[in-house]
Amino acid sequence: MEKSKLDSLSKLDATSKLPTPKRDTELRQVWRHLRRNRLAMVGLAVLVLFLLCAIFAPFITPFDPIKTDFGNALQDPSSENLLGTDWLGRDSFSRILYGSRISLAIGLISVTIGMLIGVPIGALSGYYGGRFDILIQRIIDILIAFPGILLAIVVVAVLGVGVENVMIAVGIASVPIYTRLVRGSVLAVKEQGYIAAAKALGIGDARIIIRHIMPNCLGPIIVQSTFQIATAILWAAGLGFLGLGAQPPDPEWGAMLSKGREYIRTSHHLTTYPGLAILFMVLGFNLLGDGLRDALDPRSRKHR
């Protein structure tokens, strides 16, 4: 008897917790805040533009990004080749367009990897506390001891070069950030009355974490992920530049820039534009991240 009552209670609780219309207005509120933020809108516009380029690249440019044309090598920008051609006669503009596919994919996939590993570990670590928490925190301390891009480089050194390994490497390198972030958020809400109430109702730990705690961590996770994608793109381009990422003939921006250096005296468009592409994409995510942070929590400006 008690069991069914509890079940219906928890169902009631679950449904009343996330009513669709309320969520809708929350989303709309965030959007309204965001829309008023001019820089965030610039960032969003830049990202939409890159996304469109990535999706419609074959329709925007008639050139194949990989097909070589030696007779047409190292041409300066012209009406035919908007950003010139490279040492193999490939159209630079097309390669940059197609390159946005690689960078966006690396950014999104590696951050997803980092999130899928880091968020659950952080949530469990914060929720259960105790020895498990201490153990996880010490492991994170060790990972954080590898500064910046270095952890990603170490992982690539182990797994070998290539785009897939870069995604894994950058993903692993972002795990500590998510673990710390989610653990902090969980610790902040764990002691709230409604969690105690849920426990008193006999709701299982898994359900409490997923239904009642995680929704509160969603904002910080979204904001952090936006910045983290930017970092991932920068790191991946760096690995590409070092020859540890995408391999020829893939039109990856970092690798393009690295090879373009050999022609810097005659054809500097080969280094200038891939770098600008990285800069704008990263800037887009950073501006959007700033905007989201302010929209989701107006007090957050004082955080950093």
Partner: protein, 311 residues
């Protein structure tokens, strides 16, 4: 306070042990046959066997780690499979170069970043403020290797003012240090500005002003010192990012430092050197964080971490 320092020192020990385990694991985690990967694709079976024997790959992991740690504590990091010189010699030759680069970059970043941040905060919404904050946004987003190449293009290829790479005179240091420092300068400018703005809004600043103190004294003596706390923390943390960025900057400017050595060694599958370089950078970074935490505790007496209350 001293209790905190000792506790903080002790806390670094497990981290250092963990770092050593991870670095030790670099070779052991190579997918497939590590001996074959290290020896190279075209290596003879005899050579692969030799590598396996030298690295004790047939022994249990605990035996391998024990030998690795015993050697490490005696300052033996193995030999480069490429040059056959001791890894410690290779590292000792390069480390000072990386230090010079990183420290110069940090000094440049602190000077540019902090002064831009202070002026921005005191002249909020002025042309300078808008411009420097825009520059800071771009500075954080620009890939460090691209900045380096653009500086080479402008100052070496076109203007011919500074050398595009190598090491030797102070002129060789200018472009790499500036390249490496700019992103940190951008971040420091933003942090200093927001920290200053927060402090300038405090009551004791109003009090200082109402005492009739001139603005320069208010800014320098009352505001800046208190605004400095988050800035110092960020400088410490940024040192790690800077060491990571040094890998890229050193590659752009052919700067013979640890970062470039590490990348070259990865590409040459010279794993003992990779391990040594990674270990050195990580241990160094742990030490820096330790120092920053201790400085932080001295700067901000409110942090007593459970020990005796201070003042």
């Amino acid at each position: 306070m001293y209790g905190y320092v000792i506790r903080r020192l002790l806390l670094a020990i497990p981290v250092l042990i963990g770092v050593s385990i991870l670095v030790f694991a670099i070779i052991r985690f190579i997918p497939g046959d590590p001996a074959r990967a290290i020896a190279g694709v075209h290596a003879s079976p005899e050579y692969i066997e030799q590598v396996r024997r030298e690295l004790l790959l047939d022994e249990g992991l605990h035996v391998q780690y024990y030998v690795y740690m015993t050697n490490l504590l005696q300052g033996d990091l193995g030999r480069s499979t490429f040059t056959n010189r001791p890894v410690t010699v290779e590292l000792a030759q390069r480390f000072p170069n990386t230090m010079v680069l990183a420290v110069t970059a940090m000094v440049i970043a602190s000077i540019i970043g902090m002064s831009a941040g202070i002026v921005s905060a005191t002249k909020r919404y002025s042309l300078f403020d808008n411009f420097s904050m825009l520059a800071a946004l771009v500075g954080v987003a620009a890939p460090v290797f691209w900045l380096g190449v653009m500086f080479q293009l402008l100052f070496s290829v076109q203007l011919g003012w500074l050398p595009s790479g190598g090491i030797g005179t102070w002129k060789h240091l200018v472009l790499p240090a500036l390249t490496l420092g700019l992103a940190t300068a951008a971040l420091l400018a933003r942090i200093t500005r927001s920290s200053m703005l927060e402090v300038l809004g405090q009551d004791y600043i109003t009090t200082a002003r109402s005492k009739g103190l001139i603005e320069r004294v208010v800014i320098n003596k009352h505001a800046f010192k208190n605004a400095l706390i988050p800035v110092v923390t960020v400088i410490g943390l940024q040192f790690g990012t800077l060491l990571g960025g040094a890998v890229l900057t050193e590659t752009v400017f052919s700067w013979p430092g640890i970062g470039r050595l590490m990348v070259d060694s990865i590409l040459a599958r010279d794993y003992p050197v990779v391990q040594g370089a990674v270990l050195l950078l990580a241990v160094f970074f742990v030490m820096i964080n330790l120092v920053v935490d201790i400085i932080y505790a001295f700067l901000d007496p409110r942090i007593s971490y459970g020990t005796k209350e201070v003042e």
